[in-house]
Amino acid sequence: AQSVAQPEDQVNVAEGNPLTVKCTYSVSGNPYLFWYVQYPNRGLQFLLKYITGDNLVKGSYGFEAEFNKSQTSFHLKKPSALVSDSALYFCAVRDNVGSARQLTFGSGTQLTVLP
């Protein structure tokens, strides 16, 4: 079975400061990891994914995420937060074992960037 946890319901950060949104996962085999962002009254937008290779993945809007196999984590980061980054962020995982193709989502983290 695959699962993902986002331990923080809410993260507040001042504009211009670095931000981190945490995610840990559990899979049987190797993980495929994804980050999505949801703005109010919108669907989910894909930010980035880790499949294999370099542990630091760069994505849209200046976001990046670091895959850490020993800690089973895939934290989302950005060096300098913008007020427009305020949104709901979801981490998701898919196991490379078995036939299931669907993603399992975390509970979401509401990011608020304060001006």
Partner: protein
């Protein structure tokens, strides 16, 4: 990527009625998924819809309540039947395009916000 549209974008319905949500993709896709997102919650997968076969439902979801059609590679519908206030949610269509197994990115439509009175 894939551009996905959903109709309607929102609706307010009466208890006991049914609503059919349409999902249209701008290109052919291999797999289509339907999710439910209750207010302030994460996404829950309802079913996976493949063209030419019956949809596969997740635990807690049944075909009589959420019938799904997938007539071709760019279109699917989800019907929410005999609605109750507990069905008030955002319903999201999602797709994958490739055949690369678990590495495929899933893309999401804008969602349909359903309120049942």
């Amino acid at each position: 990527s894939a551009v996905i549209s959903q109709k309607p974008s929102r609706d307010i319905c009466q208890r006991g009625t049914s609503l059919t949500i349409q999902c249209q993709v701008d290109s052919q896709v291999t797999m289509m998924f339907w999710y439910r997102q209750q207010p302030g919650q994460s996404l829950t997968l309802i079913a996976t819809a493949n063209q030419g076969s019956e949809a596969t439902y997740e635990s807690g979801f049944v075909i009589d309540k959420f019938p799904i059609s997938r007539p071709n590679l760019t279109f699917s519908t989800l019907t929410v039947s005999n609605m109750s206030p507990e069905d008030s949610s955002i319903y999201l269509c999602s797709v994958t395009k490739g055949l690369a197994g678990g590495t495929d990115t899933q893309y999401f439509g804008p969602g349909t916000r359903l309120t049942v009175l």
